[in-house]
Amino acid sequence: MKVDRSKKAMDFLDKVEELSGESVNACIRCGTCSAGCPFVEDMDVLPERIFKRIVLGDKEGILEKNTMWICAACFTCSVRCPRDIDIAKIMEAVRQIVLRHNIDMVDVDDVENMKELPQLAVVGCFRKETG
């Protein structure tokens, strides 16, 4: 992992904190978030590693991982964090940094099984994965 302290890299940290309203630097890497997360086995890197990468300014490294897309905002980490960081909001901020450039992570025109799906699944998915 490259460590980047340039202004551009630090802008990413600032943007995440601005969008989430949370302090990324408050994280003590205790791993409680990852320990309780029901989705870690499908994540490229653990949630707490995302924190470290944000602090180190590794924007490119984060955006190529799937962690924030696998997070379903179930808030388990948020209620358990001993530092009271609302981690779900950090994940949302990282997702939004991508989506706000008019990028979709799901193909809206090609959802399988649309006939069966309840609306709240489709609405929820599009809210979290389309820009």
Binding site: D109, M114, K115, E116, Q119, V122, C125, F126, T130
Partner: protein, 234 residues
């Protein structure tokens, strides 16, 4: 100064940023033509029915964009205009025999998935020159109420301004048309009278009367229309 300008009250408009003087009382469409523009597309019936002449404009001292039909809106002094030649929204293909809402209660979502992105901002309703509650019919479609979607959208002339303004890229007018087609095919009661009349037409029972009308003078035709008997049979 032309003879026209001497006799008529003139106002100032801006077409794509360029200033023109046009007579007061013209529609946007005729004002543009007066200014020398020629409509090749983006113009149809000139009567407010076909929806081809969607236009976007701003008036002086107004921060909001306004949307209307160019053939139905009078020019005002200080208007900033641009004409929209076409709305390139996708219309999904469907087989009318395969869209029974009783078989598929997600039928609207199935063909127009992006309705799930509606944020209820109501921008579509504000854009509609027909004063249709566009947001409400999108919401009805999302909750599977095809008939309400059809009813609310009945006056739609498919100009596409709703879709152009939508932050969720919803194709309102195509969606609403699907709802009306489904309603006609699956929800409204079957009409024996309609079927009977269609058969009569097919049998050629009205061919002579039609030929007669086509050959009529305009005044005669108008009289016939005004005096027509529309009372219910029986």
């Amino acid at each position: 100064m032309s003879e026209d300008e001497e006799n008529r009250e003139m106002i100032e408009i801006f077409v794509m940023g360029k200033r023109y003087k046009v007579p007061k009382g013209l529609t946007i469409m005729t004002a543009l033509e007066y200014a020398g523009y020629k409509y090749v597309r983006g113009c149809g019936c000139r009567g407010g029915f076909c929806g081809a002449c969607a236009t976007i404009y701003r008036t002086e001292d107004e921060y909001k964009f306004k949307m209307d039909l160019a053939c139905q809106t009078a020019v005002q002094d200080g208007m900033f205009l641009v004409q929209l030649p076409f709305v390139p929204a996708v219309r999904e293909d469907f087989d009318i025999e395969e869209v029974d809402p009783k078989e598929n209660d997600n039928v609207m979502l199935d063909y127009y998935s992006e309705i799930a992105r509606c944020v209820s901002c109501n921008t579509c309703t504000k854009a509609c020159p027909q004063d249709i509650e566009a947001m409400d019919y999108v919401q009805a479609a999302l909750r599977g109420d095809v008939e309400r979607c059809a009813d609310l959208s009945f006056d739609c002339i498919q100009c596409g301004l709703c879709s152009i303004r939508c932050p969720a890229d919803i194709k309102h007018y195509h969606l609403a048309q699907l709802a009306r087609r489904i309603t006609g095919r699956y929800i409204h009661e079957h009409s024996d009278e309609l079927e009977k009349r269609v058969q009569e037409i097919k049998n050629g029972e009205y061919d002579d009367k039609m030929k007669e009308m086509v050959e009529m003078e305009m005044e005669e035709l108008k009289k016939l229309y005004e005096e027509r008997d529309i009372r219910e049979e029986g």
